[in-house]
């Protein structure tokens, strides 16, 4: 048993290291192909800093130097934070994001399991699918927006953004934000430790409580109380002004944490239903494409939460680095983000491997989504009707432009409708609210919103269709290849193809895409 676990841990560590080096090499090759001179990342160097593995201005940085530089944290100087090194900027921002991400991950997994179980057992399969997809795709993303609107804007209870309130921090110039941040992290650890000890101590007792749901509820409540005790008492023990500054920082973290947790729980609930969940390319407890995809999507959610809240984590920094064409920071941040996600994935794989028992044969045959009774037709009909409606939008735009709409006014990109004298006299200008002339109003530049909405359906179909076509063809080719390999008894080669697929899915798509964007242009 223990020997098996040790082997599993060693294998997962090896896999993580392998994934890392493949990723680094791919980045290096991509940069070389594009003709990016890595030595420019190090120059003009500030006089205070001389990286050990830097051959000097104008001399090319080879693959080994690139690896070594990465391992020793030398990825050049950030242009936008000059003269700070990429590593120092990332080291300041990454822990914050990781902290938020890890907390949200710990909360999102049980919550996602709850969503999944709720829809799996309560409703029959007919309503189940429809409601589940509706909740995941429509309700929860809007709930997130609603929460922001109610708590932050309407009630004014929680701050709308930023990391901290400068008014509170101004008198304490000698205290750095990160010193307080690390104390918050420490307090969280203490809270978890206290709750964990309480859990271990009372584990026997909870088993004796008779209704199981009551025991679960009581256990959760008890752990929450213990966590809060450990957390808040340790915070108070830091003494003023550190306690109140930490409180301010936590206060700014609540809404981002709730939103990220909600979004991540949705992704989790969606993905554990998929067939990806079953596939373990390297046996028990190894990386699964399902978890990799979940992490990648979650990182996209983190990026959006950080942007919406201007919460200065690594995602926001990456975005700013791309927009200001700070190539060293873009490359550095992308690499370290991927590294962090690979290691989270590895840690979760090891945890799962230690916890999980071998599934029984009955469990393996059990369908992921239970089908109860006859399958109703109406969800399919609704989906087809909606798709036809979107298709109708694609057709409607050119038809309307040809008949009713004057292109000078209604063109989605170049149109402009000069507001009438009467409207101007009443103090109205663009964006104008919906009226008979513009059924959905106009945007800030005086263009018709309805026209833009209709025109955009075409963009969505073109982009989604082309991407879908390419990906489906490649996926079909790969599936056929794997099948052929399995037929000629070269199944391990086939597993290699599947593992490559896992590795690709494991790359967080959004930072990767931003890297592609920076590299491409």
């Amino acid at each position: 048993m223990t020997e098996q676990v040790v082997r599993m841990i060693l294998r997962d560590l090896l896999l993580a290291a392998l994934a890392l080096f493949i990723f680094l090499t791919a980045i290096f090759v991509l940069l070389q192909v594009r003709g990016v001179d890595l030595s420019t990342f190090y120059g003009p160097l500030p006089s205070t800093w001389s990286p050990p593995h830097y051959p000097g201005p104008g001399q090319s940085v080879g693959l080994f130097a690139f690896w070594r530089n990465f391992l020793t944290g030398n990825l050049g100087v950030s242009f936008s934070y000059y003269p700070r090194s990429v590593w120092s900027v990332v080291a300041e921002r990454l822990p914050r994001s990781l902290f938020l991400f890890t907390l949200a991950l710990l909360l999102a997994i049980p919550l996602g399991n709850l969503w999944s179980r709720l829809f799996q057992s309560r409703w029959g399969s007919n309503g189940n699918r429809f409601i589940a997809i509706g909740v995941y795709a429509l309700f929860l993303p809007w709930l997130v927006l609603l929460l922001v609107w109610i708590f932050a804007y309407k009630l004014g209870l929680l701050p709308m953004g930023k990391f901290l309130n400068p008014d509170i921090w101004r008198p304490y110039r000698e205290i750095s934000a990160n010193a307080v941040f690390w104390r918050v992290v420490l307090s969280t650890f203490i809270g978890f430790a206290v709750a964990g000890l309480g859990w271990l101590g009372l584990r026997r007792f909870w088993r004796t409580v008779s209704p199981k749901w009551l025991a679960t509820l009581l256990a959760i409540g008890m752990n929450a109380v213990l966590f809060s005790l450990g957390f808040f008492i340790s915070l108070i023990l830091y003494g003023e002004p550190l306690s109140s500054l930490a409180g301010d920082m936590i206060w700014h973290m609540i809404l981002p944490l709730i939103l990220l947790t909600l979004e991540m729980s949705v992704f989790y609930a969606l993905i554990i239903r998929s067939d990806l969940f079953r596939f373990r390319p390297f046996g028990r407890g190894s990386f699964t494409p399902f978890f990799a995809l979940f992490l990648a999507l979650s990182f996209a959610a983190l990026l959006s939460v950080e942007t919406v809240y201007t919460w200065p984590g690594v995602g926001l920094m990456l975005l700013n680095a791309i927009l200001s064409e700070d190539m060293p920071l873009t490359v550095g941040a992308s690499i370290y983000i991927v590294v962090a996600l690979i290691f989270i994935n590895m840690a979760m794989a090891i945890y799962r491997g230690i916890r999980e028992r071998e599934p029984s044969a009955a469990q393996q045959d059990e369908p992921l989504v239970r089908e109860a009774g006859r399958r109703a037709r109406w969800p399919l009909l609704i989906a087809v009707a909606l798709l036809l409606a979107f298709g109708g939008m694609v057709i409607a735009h050119p038809v309307l432009t040809g008949t009713l709409w004057n292109p000078q006014v209604y063109d989605p990109i170049t149109g402009y409708d000069p507001p009438s004298e009467e409207l101007l006299a009443r103090g109205f200008n663009h964006p104008l609210p919906p009226s008979g002339r513009h059924l959905l109003g106009t945007d800030a530049w005086g263009r018709d919103i309805l026209s833009q909405i209709l025109y955009s359906a075409r963009s969505a179909f073109a982009l989604g269709g082309l991407a879908g076509l390419i990906a489906t063809l490649l996926g079909l080719g790969a599936a056929l290849l794997v099948r052929t390999l399995e037929k000629v008894r070269a199944g391990s080669l086939g597993n290699g193809v599947l593992a490559l697929g896992c590795a690709l899915l494991a790359l967080p798509l959004l930072p990767l895409f931003t890297f592609v964007q920076a590299w491409w242009s």
Binding site: R129, I133, G134, A137, L138, W142, W149, Y153, M160, S274, L276, F279, P289, I322, L323, E371, R375, P379, L380, A383, L386, F390, P412, P433, P434, G441, D443, I449, I453, S456, S459, A460, A462, L463, G464, L466, G468, L469, I470, A471, T472, L474, G475, L476, A478, A479, L480, V482, G501, L504, L505, L507, L509, L510, F513, T514, V516, Q517, W520, S521
Partner: protein, 123 residues
């Protein structure tokens, strides 16, 4: 070179194809000579899932101003953002700048995903 509609679709397709692979791996027996209609349904499901995801990704990337697409729902949301209509009370007062486009993104993803799911369940 800029990431326009077609190049970004190309990149997206090149990065996300394993999803189609794993959807197809869910029913490996369909790849044989029998079950052409079943295979077609699985392929459509994979296609629709990727369509749903790519519109979401497009919206996210457009929101950050990283794509050069003339007009899309994501671009509409981004324009509402950069002209300052997503801050504070403006979100509700100038609702037509943000909510219709956001609703379309949600609905499109919902439609494609639901259709894919239903097709896959009927194999």
């Amino acid at each position: 070179m800029e990431l326009n509609l077609y190049t970004s679709a190309l990149w997206l397709g090149l990065l996300i194809w394993p999803l189609a692979l794993f959807v197809l791996r869910g029913r490996p027996e369909l790849l044989g000579s029998t079950g052409r209609i079943g295979l077609l349904k699985m392929l459509s499901a994979a296609f629709l899932y990727i369509m749903a995801i790519s519109v979401g990704i497009e919206a996210a990337l457009s929101f950050y101003g990283l794509l050069r697409i003339p007009m899309s729902w994501g671009i509409m949301v981004e324009m509402a953002r950069i002209s300052g209509y997503l801050v504070g009370s403006a979100v509700t007062r100038y609702w037509w700048l943000f909510w219709p486009a956001r609703l379309m993104i949600s609905l499109f993803g919902f439609t494609a995903y639901l259709l894919g799911w239903e097709l896959k369940a009927r194999v």
